[in-house]
Symmetry: C2
Subunit: 71 residues, 2 copies
């Protein structure tokens, strides 16, 4: 729960599928899917990799959309 729509949107803006993004980063399609759907709490390095591919900053995509929950 608590989907990351900013990520989904930024990916769409680049016309990339989850698979495309995953391969560009060197990660599994399931991992991208889980992050977009809020099932994973990704590492900062993975977040940075995603941002670089999508030409976005950490603040753009990851600030405040996970928020409280745990940790």
């Amino acid at each position: 729960m608590n989907k990351n729509l900013k990520l989904k949107s930024a990916r769409a803006a680049k016309d990339m599928s989850q698979k495309d993004l995953a391969e560009a980063i060197g990660v599994t399609r399931q991992t991208i899917n889980a992050i977009e759907n809020g099932d994973y709490n990704p590492s900062i390095k993975l977040c940075i990799s995603i941002c670089k591919v999508l030409d976005k900053s950490l603040n753009d995509i990851f600030w405040e959309d996970d928020n409280d929950e745990n940790r």
Copy 2:
């Protein structure tokens, strides 16, 4: 290796010890220490928690200081 000096500096600016920061976040002192020393690749949620306590953004503290390495 690859220490996070921006984090160390932002913590110093608030005059907090690693222990202070750890307790404010709800994490262990060793965890903060490991992040500052580049031994851990922290989760985005933990990064956000740290930023909020230190009144900084993700870009301020976590952008580009880990960079390449793995992932």
